[in-house]
Subunit: 308 residues, 2 copies
């Protein structure tokens, strides 16, 4: 069992989809990553910041899953990061209606001592200087540092982002952002350019069209499981990343073969996340359900062509 | 070795992509299907119509590959179907600049006697009444009738299209068209509805996002191989269908396991088709290249998760 350090937002989300409204519920990248990773045998911690409006029963959801919360700072008199968004009819795009950074605006992550020698570090989408600040606190180079980012940081903090990207092992990014980051339309070329920037591994997330893993000349692809209905895509990318990081922390095996499995585990967990609002589905998820769906992933992708 | 009957356009294409202009070259669904299927050990025939402006050396390309051309009618004084199109920068969409149906406007396919007992029939995208007319000429129910169609026939010949769809075994269709045909956004639901219309198998083509095969509760997915550069997407869907049909005609095995392999073979061949203008790449393709790329498909998709 490895140690997994997760840094990311713990927040309130308020989501509207064509199927309904969630009102104010538990959300945030750190939350989704943590819940997904808790499906594996890992010792994990979430580092984040909330206000004292954040309910204790939400904190309990982490501790019940053996997630260390000593790195979640609770700011007295502060308010928790709040995001409100509305998805369009096809669920492939959304409008942000409200973003209140609140305590997240001054997030100064402190890595718990016990996790400064983590095996795997998963840096959720955050200001790149915050991501760098976390790496600086590590007392031992982890086996693997994974970071997520988004177009906002490319547009506003390019130099800071480049400094993080130089120091990480895996960048997770969506397809349009990979194109923006590299000015290459071909994802193969984009992934090659990103590898020149630092990370030896690149994971390109394509939402309902699956995810690609690139490393040197190797490419692996995992589809998203075709579903009857996607109810709420919020957190799917972070759940994917949490499954990926969780599996690698459990196995402490960062070979390409192991990363393939990690990508499948991430895709598998993400397929549950989208079935209900926010974290709802992840909170009831049972190992048997996870395993059954892994079998579906095998049926979906495995074939038997013998080459003569 | 099985018999494969192919019905589809044999035409002139005139293509502009961001990388250049092709001028007037060999094209048409029947052409791409035939060339892809010729990679397999099959006895195949293409049924189509051209004008006497159609060069003999194009006809020779078929006969050199042991494709029966006795069903390609050459109309004296007639002109061959001509399509001119221009792709947008991302190659995912295109404008049709010119469509001259010419001899195709009065296409009255005559199935060569020897192919009225074909094992597999592949009906390229054509007026549904023409597709029906071909089925009516068959003296033996084939193991498998596959048909392609497009939104144009849904918009203009709905009832005729339904009559074909009732009589076929496999419908190949792209994702947006599957949604239009069924009024379902979820491809899983769309495929289920299409199966209720008749075909026991549904292949949904998603272009650069791969292809899905549906049959009852079974789903199989093949990605498109990530490429450095897509040069010209023209014919990729027909090449995919030709590989699919060709493999099934060679093996005469229409189990779901066999169809999975057929989908992979189709995706594999389509990945070559897009590398050059029109049929150019398919005309030089060697078995060793095909096999090498099948290995890449395996690396891209196969993983090893043991469930305990």
């Amino acid at each position: 069992m490895g140690k997994l350090l997760i840094v990311g937002s713990v927040a309130f989300d308020d989501i509207e989809t064509p199927f309904g409204k969630s009102d104010k519920i538990l959300g945030g990248a750190g939350t989704f990553i943590g819940l997904a990773a808790s499906q594996f045998e890992v010792k994990s911690a979430v580092v984040s910041v909330v206000g004292d409006d954040f309910p204790q029963n939400y904190i309990d959801l982490f501790t019940e899953r053996d997630i260390d919360v000593s790195g979640i700072e609770i700011v007295k008199g502060g308010k928790t990061f709040y995001w409100k968004g509305k998805y369009h009819n096809d669920l492939n795009s959304r409008d942000t209606l409200i973003t209140e950074l609140n305590t997240m605006a001054n997030f100064n992550p402190v890595v718990p001592d016990e996790f400064t020698d983590a095996d795997v570090v998963m840096l959720g989408n955050l200001h790149p200087d915050i991501q760098t600040g976390v790496i600086d606190q590590l007392k031992k180079r982890p086996k693997l540092i994974i970071a997520d980012t988004m177009n906002f940081w490319m547009n506003n903090t390019w130099d800071e982002l480049m400094k993080v990207i130089e120091r990480i092992d895996v960048l997770t990014i969506n397809d349009e952002e990979a194109r923006q980051l590299t000015n290459e339309h071909s994802l193969l070329k984009a992934a090659a350019k990103i590898q020149e920037m630092g990370p030896k591994y690149v994971v390109i997330k394509k939402g309902e069209h699956g995810a690609l893993l690139f490393h040197k000349d190797h490419i692996f692809f995992a589809p998203a499981l075709p579903l009857e209905e996607v109810f709420d895509p919020t957190g799917a990318g972070d759940t994917f990343a949490g499954g990926f990081a969780g599996y690698l922390a459990e196995t402490k095996n960062i070979s390409f073969e192991s990363m393939k499995n990690a990508i499948i585990h991430g895709s598998n967990l993400a397929s549950f996340c989208v079935e209900k609002f926010g974290t709802e589905r992840m909170l009831t998820l049972k190992k048997q359900e996870v395993d059954n769906r892994l079998l579906q992933f095998k049926e979906l992708t495995q074939f038997n062509i013998e080459l003569t």
